[in-house]
Symmetry: C2
Subunit: 331 residues, 2 copies
DNA sequence: TTGAAAGCGCTAACAA
DNA sequence: TTGTTAGCGCTTTCAA
């Protein structure tokens, strides 16, 4: 593992000259350059990126933290950030936050201690006051969910409007008793989507019935029994709106086995190939990731420039078959 | 951004004492410690991880490089590596290699220059001689595909055996003309799986017909037309073996629309929920990732220990419905 | 128990 | 065009 000093000694020049050659500084005689390059080759010299990084005071790395890398939605965000980072010659440090909110702070802080060039985070908590001090020095952009108790850039989708439209769509198909499936209301996205659901009911002068709301059904068995309950006499649902990806993946097998009208927030692979194909409100995770990463670089380049803090992307209804399943007992 | 020196000045001690406090060195008087901690708090001191890293000569980071982060198979590998790395207090630097083999070398070398603690790679090329020099200093483990022209740890699955079994399974279901779908034979995994396919045919004394092999059908339209060709009079296939995930995802919609017997290499989300549900040879990407990461740490801890270079994990047939679809014209 | 000195590998700033 | 000096923030000697 030769160092620059060793190359310099070998070539009979100073380390600084080696550094110049390495950085394509024009103020090096071609002969000197050739000589140094020869020495580099002979010694198998490879620059130590850690030293450069340390010297520069900022590491050419953007962090991305998402709840779950295996969820295609978050994978697409990470992928987009990485693409954008690559264009700026930056690498990407990825972390899964998991679904335990307690992990968020330690994980993010350990990333930030590395003097990242920026951080994109899809948070799992609602209080980000602890990032206050960090965000003064490192650009932080939120995706999917906006931060709580912190002023920072956020790129989200129209959760409320999308949920409203997805619910209204079921109402248009003649449903009057519509179940709501969601992970947990502690997540602002889910809370917003429940609001949208209620707005759609209100707009159609339908009552809001808490018995129609089933939370936490994120596993297949959980979703299956939630569905049984929703279809049962107490709730009497003839349709369901699944408000997040985990619930959707969990409930789809049950819907396939015992069809019931369904719309889901978030598109997913093969949604169009299932029987029935699933009508969804499509988000655009790649756009979220691209925008967030781009904003990081923009903030770094122009610290003074004033930019909108909140960007809400539209969502789009993709109508497929699952919304057309009629109620078992016609109204 | 206070430094250790500033904290030391503020507390009236030497930087080394601050360092001791930070590293829980027992040789610090409780009073001194309390005093230093007080100063750290007052100055909002946060250790600069880059400096520590630089000083130590090795960064507490494992690299993971996969062709495509959005593919659940690779996402699961990354996830597993990350989990394992976390247990060793290491972070994870993730890179997508993409499907262009030319990107592999520059991308991997730029990761390695950072003095990683280790690297897990699912390669896209077949020649890894360029990693020779690196692998002497940094543990490198291959997953999914073994390296070419390089001695390194590799964790792969039984590509040939799995393909043989998946093909034999179709033969057992009475098929005599079985199509082979695959990305490109330049990938050793696909080449191996084609071998397995041929072995199954040979074992059943069925002829191998190149007309039954369709490569590169990785998009939906591509897969659909490949399927049309395979079912056509020239090839006359009554069943298909899809040898990799990209082809499987591309061909499944066509199979759903116009059923034909199918087995696929690699399980995927909702494979059991499609109509027909898809019979697969399941790999275990999480195991691959865990094993590879564990090996990295093992090599780092015991550089001399001799360990097997090649680990081949078994694959398991998950029988579902798609293998049971009969030939249109009974033989 | 504490501190002083030195240096990890590289590169700005300045000098020659 | 090339070299010297100095230092990024931390930690490892070694000495006090």
């Amino acid at each position: 593992m030769a160092t620059m000093r060793e190359v310099a000694a070998h070539a009979g020049v100073s380390p600084k000259t080696v550094s110049r050659v390495l950085n394509d500084d024009p103020h090096v005689l071609p002969a000197t350059r050739a000589h140094v390059e020869q020495s580099m080759r002979e010694l198998d010299y490879v620059p130590n990126a850690m030293a450069t990084t340390f010297r520069s005071g900022r590491s050419p790395v953007v962090g991305v933290a998402v709840p779950d890398l295996v969820d295609p939605f978050f994978a697409a965000i990470v992928n987009a950030v990485e693409e954008r980072a690559l264009a700026e010659d930056l690498s990407t440090l990825v972390t899964s936050l998991g679904h335990d909110p307690a992990r968020e702070q330690p994980v993010l802080e350990s990333m930030l201690r590395r003097q990242l060039s920026g951080l994109v985070v899809a948070p799992t908590t609602n209080d980000h006051a602890y990032l206050e001090a960090w965000s003064a020095r490192i650009p932080i952009a939120f995706v999917d969910r906006a931060p709580g108790s912190l002023t920072a850039d956020a790129f989200t989708q129209d959760d409320r409007g999308g949920a409203r439209e997805a619910t209204a769509h079921l109402i248009e198909h003649g449903h009057r008793r519509i179940g709501f499936l969601g992970d947990a209301l502690s997540a602002p996205t889910i809370a917003e989507r429940l609001e949208g659901y209620r707005e759609a009911l209100a707009a159609a002068r339908l009552p809001y019935d808490p018995a129609l709301v089933a939370l936490g059904a994120t596993t297949r068995p959980g979703a299956a029994s939630a569905l049984v309950r929703l279809r049962g006499p107490d709730a009497g649902a003839t349709a369901v709106f699944s408000s997040d990806a985990r619930c959707t993946m969990a409930v789809v097998p049950a819907v396939t086995a015992h069809p019931i009208a369904l719309t889901a927030f978030g598109d997913f692979p093969l949604a169009d190939t299932l029987t029935p194909s699933i009508t969804v409100m499509a988000q655009d995770p790649a756009a979220l990731g691209h925008l967030a990463a781009a904003r990081l670089f923009e903030r770094a380049a122009h610290p003074q420039r004033s930019l909108p803090r909140r960007t809400v992307l539209p969502v789009a209804l993709i109508e497929r078959d699952s919304c057309r399943i009629p109620a078992p007992h016609p109204a």
